[in-house]
């Protein structure tokens, strides 16, 4: 039993990191119906920014996280303005292809030697690892930090989206972009803000991932990005609590499959669950039933 709880905690840690990525996917999809393929690579950039902050400039962890968040936010907004905004009135698939192009570009450009380089790097841990024993279950301070930071950010996001004017504007634009524009909302800015916030969260996720699983490389964003996206769909794409729920489920399922069944099948299990859920609830767990108006 303690073993199971242990793995549950490990899965939760993974899930929380996925959640920080999944939120960006879900918010962007909600507001512009785009699957932002490049998001996983923004996560990667965040991890690297944190790496340089910790390793090269020897800054404390909170500062590193902030640097990653700010840097990624800027990157996210930049990408939106340059690559996605011009295609807003074009068929949706064009933006998707462009997003794929941005993703590939980020991966391969950063793996050039004068940028990040194609090799794996070991993430510095700015403090000693301490473990705490609760009834036989071991929790490390790293895990506590991951939980703490992730929860803090998710709460902040929820408050922001539900209690501030900008948050309300974001929700308005997701419902009906043109109507929101007619209400005087600056749609361009709101879209940029959404991309920025999503990217910032992914950046934080990158740093947390780095200290939890201390190996990074320019292609590290592909699988977590994919899984986080699946998590967002699982929970109901476009729905913020759904992304958190879906991500936690993905993390736990992945970990449990890895330890109880086989590590090679762990990716397949998560996707199998996704397909099953979609067949039963086509719009995701918390997704709204979309009735087609005839």
């Amino acid at each position: 039993m303690t073993y199971f709880l242990q793995q549950l905690i490990n899965g939760l840690q993974l899930g929380f990191v996925y959640a920080l990525i999944a939120l960006g996917y879900t918010m962007v999809y909600g507001i512009v119906r785009l699957i932002n393929f490049a998001h996983g690579d923004v996560f990667m950039v965040g991890a690297y920014l944190g790496f340089f902050a910790l390793a090269s400039w020897r800054l404390p962890l909170p500062v590193a996280i902030i640097i990653a968040m700010v840097g990624c936010a800027a990157l996210g907004v930049f990408i939106e303005r340059v690559a996605y905004k011009p295609l807003r009135r074009a068929p949706r698939i064009s933006s998707l292809i462009t997003a794929i192009g941005v993703s590939l570009f980020l991966e391969y450009f950063t793996s050039l030697k004068f940028v990040f380089g194609p090799y794996f790097r070991a993430y510095p841990r700015p403090f000693a690892i301490r473990t705490y024993n609760l009834n036989g279950v071991t929790v490390s301070n790293i895990q506590i930090i991951v939980f703490g930071v992730a929860i803090l950010l998710m709460v902040a996001l929820t408050l922001f989206v539900n209690r501030t004017k900008t948050g309300m504007a974001m929700r308005a634009v997701s419902f009906d972009r043109d109507a929101a524009a007619l209400m005087g909302i600056n749609v361009d800015n709101i879209i940029s803000v959404t991309f920025g916030i999503g990217a910032a969260l992914a950046g934080a996720g990158g740093v947390l991932y780095g200290i939890a699983y201390p190996q990074i490389n320019p292609f590290m964003g592909i699988m977590p990005g994919l899984k986080a996206f699946v998590a967002a769909v699982l929970g109901g794409i476009g729905i913020i609590p759904g992304a958190m729920l879906g991500a936690v489920i993905m993390g736990i399922v992945e970990k449990l499959t890895e330890v109880y069944i086989s590590s090679t099948l762990r990716d397949a299990a998560a996707f199998a669950i996704l397909i099953f859920v979609l067949l039963v609830r086509p719009t995701g767990i918390m997704g709204k039933r979309e009735q087609e108006k005839v």
Binding site: L87, S94, I97, I100, V230, V233, T264, D267, I275
Partner: protein, 328 residues
């Protein structure tokens, strides 16, 4: 192509003759050694890519079903064909086509099985589900040695006979173009397109959407199966890493860049893609080889920003269209 009872020399027939002539020329150049084996392989690969992309164009470009799992069927076709040819002791020209047939049928059967439940899903969700299915198949390939030792699991399947040659690729590529072209310019094709345009309205005018979606999906996946089989017998080695969602995305890129619902576009984009990636490898001096994969996505982004409907944008060269559709 004769229309009705009159035998007319029309632009379609002329185009076909030109294509056959091109084949003869290229074939000669290969046999005489002017075209070296490396270029020969690239030519074959370009043809294979086109076959696979034509399949996805049928599924997504014409029928509107967003499938992100195309590589899985490419892999299924490859492995099946390889296993079949491996188990045939005899030699003969018929070995490869038999393997390809097996690959196509297996891919089609699995497409039917997975399509029936999954094609109910709408657009983006269908994409995710097919992507997930592709991942599952990929994992199965990685674990395949537990079931069939010869498939090699994560290490891949080796020792496949090099049966693919340019004439074979050419024949199947030409066949794929003709089959797809005949299909889309027919009642079946119109039904598929009507589903893409407005599935509900299509149902309202007598089109059994479920049936046709599945049909389009199965045929498109069979194309992928043939392409995979040709691929297996060209590179003689199958690695599960080559059949992951990144490969599915490659095919999607080609279909969109060429123009959804355009056969001409798919041919141009598919061949162009294969030549671009290889061409960059040749042009760029080895010191900056790594820039190859940096330039490629930039080209993609630029094409999308300037021609968001794809190179051909849904239109077709006149010689592919039947008489009545041609613009004077």
């Amino acid at each position: 192509m004769a229309a009705g009872n009159k035998l007319r020399v029309d632009i379609g027939t002329v185009a076909l003759l030109i294509v056959l002539g091109l084949f003869a020329v290229l074939g000669f150049l290969i046999v005489s050694g002017v075209i070296n084996p490396y270029v020969h392989t690239i030519l074959c690969y370009a043809g294979i890519v086109v076959i696979s992309a034509l399949g996805l164009n049928l599924i997504y470009g014409y029928t509107g079903q967003f499938s992100l799992g195309h590589a899985a069927f490419y892999g299924i076709g490859g492995y099946t064909a390889a296993l079949v040819t491996r188990s045939i002791a005899a030699q003969g020209w018929w070995v490869l086509p038999l393997g390809l047939l097996a690959g196509a049928l297996t891919a089609g059967a699995i497409a039917l099985l997975i399509g029936l439940p999954i094609l109910r899903l709408k657009s983006d969700y269908l994409g995710i589900a097919t992507l997930g299915f592709g991942m599952i198949i990929n994992v199965l390939f990685k674990n395949s040695d537990k079931l069939i030792k010869a498939m090699g699991g994560a290490a891949g399947m080796r020792g496949i006979e090099r049966l693919t040659t340019f004439p074979w690729v050419f024949i199947f590529c030409l066949g794929a173009v003709i089959v797809l072209r005949n299909l889309v310019f027919s009642g079946v094709g119109r039904a598929l397109i009507s589903i893409r345009e407005d599935e509900l309205a299509a149902e309202a005018v007598g089109v059994n959407a479920t049936s046709y979606k599945t049909l389009g999906f199965v045929i498109g996946c069979m194309f992928a199966g043939v392409a995979g089989g040709l691929y297996a017998h060209l590179y003689t080695y199958l690695n599960p890493d080559n059949f992951d969602f990144l490969k599915s995305i490659d095919v999607l890129l080609i279909v969109v860049i060429g123009g959804l619902g355009s056969i001409s576009g798919t041919i141009i984009a598919g061949a162009g893609w294969a030549f671009l990636l290889e061409g960059l490898r040749v042009i760029l001096p080895s010191a900056v080889q790594e820039w190859r994969m940096v330039v490629y996505p930039l080209v993609l982004i630029v094409i999308m920003l300037f021609r968001s409907n794809g190179i051909m944008g849904g239109s077709e060269f006149n010689f592919l269209k039947p008489q009545e559709y041609r613009r004077r």
